[in-house]
């Protein structure tokens, strides 16, 4: 039974690679350098290139989705990182013991909300607020660019940050909690304030876990599909020009473009999406395994091992 996960993963990787080969032959290295993702005219006669068939004038480059993934994930980390650290410090330093448990349960419930529900909230509540209240104000204080819609980089980044804060907070808070009592007591004995305990013991000794927790959060943000699909604006072939721009991510593009790929009789569109998925898996693997290596094996989403 322990072999099953390994077997599934081996089948998954070999199948994805096998299915991505036509796209690799057709696009070559330009898959990584082009930002044009164009399914081609599937009703025209297909062309043959490097021994594979593809729709007329089709071209596949992941750059705009890669940039979108990078920006939305970066935006999410930028918010989630400080917030999670302050949350962990507050829970560990300034919260009475009897409130710690309810807070940790709250954090877990936060993580349990399905991504489509975050997406629903994003579409109905967050997007209008961004469009009518926040974006005009940002423009007033000096942000450049054209406001088009509530959807886009900000909506996707904010939703992602709300989704990963529980994960990052759980890892950091847990590792702060497990710092030896003697170290904390030592600082207090020297006349230290709570913040000094936080700074020297809690932050000082958990740098690794802070990085690890952030990586695990990053991994989650990279792969998140539905919420981003609902609030990103799903733009194609355009690189963002400002913080108000619409965007798209690798995972959301797979979900959005899968259907039109099925119309392509040459199968090239599907193959290109599989290659996009493969790249996403590789990035996600590196980030997650690095995070896991630092944090240790117990944590899945950070807090299941208590």
């Amino acid at each position: 039974m322990a072999l099953v996960p390994m077997a599934i993963m081996l089948i998954l990787f070999s199948f994805l690679i096998y299915k991505a080969i036509p796209s690799m032959r057709y696009t070559g290295f330009s898959f990584f350098t082009s930002y044009l993702w164009y399914p081609g005219n599937v009703y025209a006669n297909p062309i043959s290139f490097h021994g594979v068939m593809a729709p007329y004038r089709s071209s596949f480059g992941l750059l705009s989705f890669f940039v979108g993934t990078l920006i939305t994930t970066g935006f999410a980390i930028l918010i989630a990182f400080p917030v999670s650290i302050f949350l962990s410090l507050t829970i560990n330093l300034y919260t009475p013991d009897r409130l710690k448990r309810p807070f940790s349960v709250l954090v877990e419930l936060f993580a349990g909300i399905p991504s489509v529900v975050y997406g629903l909230w994003g579409v109905i509540v967050l997007e209008p607020v961004l469009l009518h209240n926040i974006m005009p104000w940002m423009k007033y204080v000096g942000f450049q660019g054209q406001i088009i819609s509530g959807a886009g980089i900000m909506a996707a980044g904010l939703i992602l940050s709300i989704m990963i804060i529980p994960i990052v907070t759980a890892v950091i808070s847990e590792s702060m909690h497990s710092q030896p009592r003697e170290l904390k007591e030592g600082v207090y004995a020297l006349g230290g304030t709570k913040w000094e305990v936080g700074k020297h013991v809690l932050l000082g000794n958990t740098r690794k876990q802070i990085v690890g927790g952030t990586l695990l959060g990053t991994g989650r943000a990279l792969g998140e599909t539905m919420a981003v699909l609902m609030v990103s604006g799903s733009i194609v072939n355009v690189l963002p020009t400002s913080i108000f721009s619409l965007t798209n991510t690798m995972s959301a593009q797979i979900a959005a473009a899968l259907d039109s790929a099925f119309i392509d009789g040459t199968g090239m569109n599907l193959s290109a999406l599989v290659e996009l998925g493969l790249v996403l898996v590789l990035i996600s693997l590196i980030v997650n395994l690095a995070g896991r290596a630092i944090v240790g094996r117990g944590a899945l989403r950070g807090f299941e091992n208590d």
Partner: protein, 290 residues
């Protein structure tokens, strides 16, 4: 003794000014922390409150008891389908997780355990849309299972394995070594130890893992889009019929832009969040009394 028994420095050291820089920075951090904590709690409350208010405002008994198609009707088929998919997933995830963890915890060598655990970690890292793509290509098309309970459930099950396995493994390894040694001393073989001792002792932990996996699986969408598809009625067989599920209703009905379809999306979100929170709280309770 807790930290509270050690008063902060300024109280101990009377010669320090009340407006010492150190005290002020402590205050600032405390205030920022409280503000963020309050803000995040408020945000959770806002999201949950949004779902509750919108959902309760449109929820009817008819919504819960009639079948629907994301544009008209109710959620009964989607509720039933969600649990059918999750249970089918458990058929894969529970045996693999429970026995896989038993092997890893009790019988694996350093190397084999390390390699197998690495693949479990790899499995957790696969984004759900890629699992969905894989489910479509392999289960739906290659194996010819079609859009079905099997295809959707197995794709969900693959995602659930790591949660069941990891938490089961922790539960096994929390069983004291002496218990096992005592059993061996009484002449028990590996089979008896596994089934009579370890699994019963770890069952609360295993159940926690299962419930956690269920709570996550019930909220998944991307794996199911092209494996379970959707069904405007009940799904009554493992093969040959697509399956309805709640997250699809949230996603798809929202896009319909009609007042009724929106109310279906809100109701589906409310049912989802209520179920998931209940499952999580039960799992919390079990892991606490363990």
């Amino acid at each position: 003794m807790t930290e509270a028994d050690f008063p902060a420095g300024r109280d101990l050291a009377g010669y320090e000014s009340k407006y010492d820089r150190r005290v002020i920075s402590d205050m600032i951090v405390r205030i920022i922390g409280y503000v963020i904590l309050a803000f995040m709690s408020g945000l959770l409350l806002a999201i949950v409150g949004f779902v509750a208010l919108k959902g309760l405002g449109v929820m009817t008994v008819k919504m819960l008891t009639t079948v629907g198609n994301t544009q008209t009707g109710g959620l009964a088929n989607a509720i039933a389908g969600t649990w059918e998919l999750v249970l089918t997933g458990l058929l894969l995830a529970v045996p693999v997780g429970m026995f896989g963890a038993l092997y890893l915890s009790e019988y694996s060598s350093r190397v084999s355990g390390g390699v197998l655990r690495l693949f479990v970690d790899v499995l957790t890292s696969i984004p759900s849309i890629v699992l969905g793509l894989f489910g479509y290509l392999v289960l739906v098309i290659q194996l010819g299972l079609g859009y079905s309970l099997i295809a959707g459930g197995v794709t969900l099950g693959v995602m659930m394995i790591p949660y069941v396995l990891r938490i089961s493994e922790i539960s096994y390894s929390n069983i004291p070594r002496q218990t096992r040694e005592a059993a061996y001393a009484l002449g028990a073989d590996n089979f008896q130890i596994s089934f009579r001792l370890l699994i019963p002792q770890a069952r609360a932990g295993i159940l926690t893992g299962v419930l956690l996996a269920v709570s996550i699986a019930a909220g998944e969408t991307a794996q199911l889009l092209y494996t379970a598809l959707f069904n405007n009625g009940y799904t009554t067989s493992f093969l040959g019929q697509p399956v309805a599920y709640l997250t699809y209703v949230v996603y798809y009905s929202l896009q319909q832009n009609t007042v009724y379809a929106r109310s279906m999306a809100y109701s589906a979100a409310l049912v989802l969040v209520t179920s998931i929170f209940s499952i999580l709280l039960v799992s919390k309770y079990i892991s606490r009394i363990r």
